[in-house]
Symmetry: D2
Subunit: 384 residues, 4 copies
Amino acid sequence: MPRKICVVITARPSYARIWSALAAIRDRSDLELQLVLCASALHDRYGKLTDIVRRDGLDVAEQLFTLIEGENLVTSAKSTGLGIIELTTAFDRLKPDLVVTIADRYETLATAVAASYLNIPLVHVQGGEITGSIDEKVRHAVTKLSDLHLVSTHKARDRVIRMGERPEAVVWTGCPSIDLAAIAERDESEFDVFSSYGGVGPVLDLSGGFLMVMQHPVTTEYGAARDQIVETIEAVRRLAMPTLWFWPNVDAGSDAVSKMIRVYRERNALPHVHLFRNVAPEHFIRLLVRSSCIIGNSSVGIRECSFLGVPAVNIGARQAGRERGPNVLDVGYDRDQIVEAVTLHERRGRPVRSHLYGDGEAGVRIAAELASWAPSVEKRLTYD
Amino acid sequence: MPRKICVVITARPSYARIWSALAAIRDRSDLELQLVLCASALHDRYGKLTDIVRRDGLDVAEQLFTLIEGENLVTSAKSTGLGIIELTTAFDRLKPDLVVTIADRYETLATAVAASYLNIPLVHVQGGEITGSIDEKVRHAVTKLSDLHLVSTHKARDRVIRMGERPEAVVWTGCPSIDLAAIAERDESEFDVFSSYGGVGPVLDLSGGFLMVMQHPVTTEYGAARDQIVETIEAVRRLAMPTLWFWPNVDAGSDAVSKMIRVYRERNALPHVHLFRNVAPEHFIRLLVRSSCIIGNSSVGIRECSFLGVPAVNIGARQAGRERGPNVLDVGYDRDQIVEAVTLHERRGRPVRSHLYGDGEAGVRIAAELASWAPSVEKRLTYD
Amino acid sequence: MPRKICVVITARPSYARIWSALAAIRDRSDLELQLVLCASALHDRYGKLTDIVRRDGLDVAEQLFTLIEGENLVTSAKSTGLGIIELTTAFDRLKPDLVVTIADRYETLATAVAASYLNIPLVHVQGGEITGSIDEKVRHAVTKLSDLHLVSTHKARDRVIRMGERPEAVVWTGCPSIDLAAIAERDESEFDVFSSYGGVGPVLDLSGGFLMVMQHPVTTEYGAARDQIVETIEAVRRLAMPTLWFWPNVDAGSDAVSKMIRVYRERNALPHVHLFRNVAPEHFIRLLVRSSCIIGNSSVGIRECSFLGVPAVNIGARQAGRERGPNVLDVGYDRDQIVEAVTLHERRGRPVRSHLYGDGEAGVRIAAELASWAPSVEKRLTYD
Amino acid sequence: MPRKICVVITARPSYARIWSALAAIRDRSDLELQLVLCASALHDRYGKLTDIVRRDGLDVAEQLFTLIEGENLVTSAKSTGLGIIELTTAFDRLKPDLVVTIADRYETLATAVAASYLNIPLVHVQGGEITGSIDEKVRHAVTKLSDLHLVSTHKARDRVIRMGERPEAVVWTGCPSIDLAAIAERDESEFDVFSSYGGVGPVLDLSGGFLMVMQHPVTTEYGAARDQIVETIEAVRRLAMPTLWFWPNVDAGSDAVSKMIRVYRERNALPHVHLFRNVAPEHFIRLLVRSSCIIGNSSVGIRECSFLGVPAVNIGARQAGRERGPNVLDVGYDRDQIVEAVTLHERRGRPVRSHLYGDGEAGVRIAAELASWAPSVEKRLTYD
């Protein structure tokens, strides 16, 4: 009997991160994949993952609607409560041998609670990182509920062990998102983002270089979301380069972001900007590889771009604490600093590539660990 | 304006543990107590806390029914989900400046998630201990969601800091349950447990010494709950001393315990045993002080009894990892071992008292910390 | 493909009522039974239905824990909300062709809402009756959400049609509980309630006649529950006949009933009373047939007893509005009236039997209707 | 002490309908208004009611986030379950003397269940109408849970009584939406919809006559939503008149509508159409009064327009069964029929006005009924 591995995806970026591992699980005869999609992964406004997943040749075991509308702190908390109720039903039915949860979004704690309270061994991918904000609390709480930790960097492994986890249960695999970057980079087939995804705004000429923007609202600084995005918009205006802008996820504060972009667009203040949502991860990477620079606060700028050697301008504190390769320049929420950093990158040229977050083989390693790991009955702090 | 301190109580034992701190909060003019009762704290079968609390002179700010019937792993998980939903409503209304959560029962994670997701600074009392079972996971996950840690032992403080919390946010206060023990011990007023609480079984003559039993089912060993309790019952039969037996809390497995006790009673196999539920903590302690020995797996045997110098026979792994004073003998689920340990205690006489878990001033210290602590905006692992 | 019939049972009495229909559904090759147990049907305190059901040779498709502890009006309402959430998941998975809901307990509205909101045709058994209390509102609300009505009496059929339902969708089948009574009455195998069910209290000699008591708290008169049950207890004391007392269902107010019975028992004030819970319906009926009189406010006294010709003393308003056969005497919550009515029944002797609530063939008729009925897309009031 | 009247609003159109009654409640010293907003009333995508309400001088007692994202049948059902949980909390806190629910959207059943299960007398506004679809079931189920019925038409009153409600508890008040129409009609202040609401599309010249469109997806015909809206879009294209189009509510199917409109717009196929959302009811009416014709399936075309004498083309079955004044022409989902009906209206000229749905004084009458009505303890079918 193959070991049943239930992987819970709560958002599009998590799917991107874990994709190569999902494929590797599916391809092993000693593992059976049970894929559960829930929370913002199911919602059209930010990209319907179900269709993408099926196109990628994976079955969806469960779709769970767990997001309470409102996009504020109250609904984030309550959605997590509802998520626990719904995931418990799903796990009780699927009876997985292991549950896998990814990264640190607020909904991932629902997966961790449901699995650990049902005594199902829990595997956490991407623990041990430092980023600040509520994600930081969530990530380490998930670590303490988890039985096996598959981490992206050697420093992360060290941190998880220092938190009191048994060293033999903390395994470096590298980040599976790097696998995707490696594959996408090698893909030479034709691809035109405008005809594939439509989006909003003019069709741009990308041949002379272009910017990419992805900026999420920051949960613990709710009220300031609007002011922060305005700095980025103003910087993009001033840079006046062709720009591909990608919509943020559902989060407290994302409405503020959407609104300001709309306001500027209606004033025709962003004539060289095209907006997209729901771009498939592999296509996103292929654009990244060709882009001059990525601006914002997405982890993509830190992780994938360090592997790919793409210049990144990282804004604000959202990625604070994450290890950085030589491709990152950090700035504040300040239009001048953003413009300057993009300009500095241009002068310096392409950064050197780094294997800090993985070497492109994480997925296969993760699947192998899931197949061979022997869950222990009980877990305690290792401190004597 | 006094600082609003919301303390969430999810079960009778937690109330006992935190009582002196609640009184100390109430007595400070710079603090305002918002007491929330939920989960099993509200249920008659295991003791209606609301009435006790009011008799103690405290106001109840909210009563939240969050326990889904079933007493199995599925309902434990779902009750936690429902708890998050209901506590979020309560916190959103009460707008506390700090939320306090106690110890490590599964429902406490609901308090921690609701508070931290609403960006309300969270205070954890009794973190950093080691016990095994699901409580272990819950306790440390709560630590990672908390901003201030008020711990019971110096070793616990050390562990919380090693987990990556800032040393200045980890404060030794001692355990407030020891305060209660100190007060109850000094109380010389008249008290007869049989006339006060009724209970079930014969009225016993306690003047020649007596046993006390409190044994909880162990969550991760669900199926074995019945066999385990039978060993204790058989040991108590053989010891043939007057015995006061106290009902366990709501937990997966508690039905098995109740049933076996009922079975033995109906066969008249426990003629010298009297059963109680919902005995007020201060009365419980006054019995403890006079008892020959406590048997079971309650933390009372480890904590309060070390301070009081009462012999304890600790069964099984539930308290594994907790620091012990000289009053504890550990045994397995084995009637012979239990009988032997009680006999050994008798021969040795009264153990020396220990301040391992506190000196009787924890409540005042906790209230002082809650009044003076300056919450920081954001928390990160301290590891460099 | 057989038509999939999902029957939702929320409490022990509903199972008793529908049993013959379940058996008839199972026995037809053109129907497939999907049995869902939820709410109080799953709880030990009031009888674990799952085991009985399996012993009866039926499969359980789903068990849903939907009861929030508290037994008050707030938890009744919230349990209904949780029931809708959980039943929606179950229906979405089971994809039944028809959903069947029975009678009028508060949880049945959860079944009706979940099915009708998912556009699954809904069948209501036992609509059109008049009883007062919250059940009355629930029953008729369920009627308005239902597409097919299988009613117990000709008067009930008339009422459902007058409420605006299409006459061809309102079918008299008789009450399936009468089928059970007919079968149980014919059963001559040996049966001793004391050895089969244990219960609490002395073993009684039933050969010289005995009383049966089943009294539910009345939801809308919450505070008075305690006073009401005392009248019955006092009447039973005065009658001093061997008495079999059956515990009520989970309902707001049931704690008051349990407590008063316990109080009297502990005073040894009920020496000729034996208490039972969770007696299988067929056994209950076999006791009924032999009993001198049933006292309380259960519908059994009105329905089954009219068919069986068993004297019933019906207390209070709970069954007000239900049609009565010649076997019923109505009294208030008054010990004198209760005693008098039992005495009057004794003098009058056995009442004549009536087919008012069915002829013992309802189950087969219900199954036939479920197989042949053609659901219509949409429903409107029939009033022109 | 004024009587506390809790009015629950679940969507923008309900607010419009009840506005004059809310104002009349606020203005009476013997009533205290407790306004609760929940479900789609809180969501930006379809209009943030909270701000409008406050601008109108009303306090919001509670905002409850009860909508689970997904806009399909499963989430409609589950949102209703969540709504019951949240509304029960709110009612338990607000302790209203009466709860008022409006009309027949699926979420209104949550209000009705929560109030009736808490034994709070329930008042239903706009019962007794016939429309088909799931609304029909919801509306009459709410009637059966309600204690007082304030109806819009004399025929509706007759129907509610025929359903078994006591005639003295069924009071004709007329529809309060007509009050709003009467007020808005008299308002001669300046108003320009384009500068006030922005919206999407060209600024149109309305002086030569214009169309208004409001078409909701029809729940029980889910899959067909897309085809249906295309017929209307094509008719509007062919009519080539300036057209103001208003977005539908959140409902299973509304995504299909949004998508098709977007598709046509992106092809520039609707050059004379301007889209709005969240237009204040009084502004909507002022547009209606000036418009040539309203197209779609909103009840506005039947109700307000009969009072105002505005031509309406009513598409499909959504309003089937509602009484009609002389202003309505009914058509199928058919572009030819729609075009023809608009043309016929043009030829015929302005229809005569009707008081079928009220005379403009409903709000005052509703408030008076709420103040004077004596709730009875219990309700039964009136059929003898």
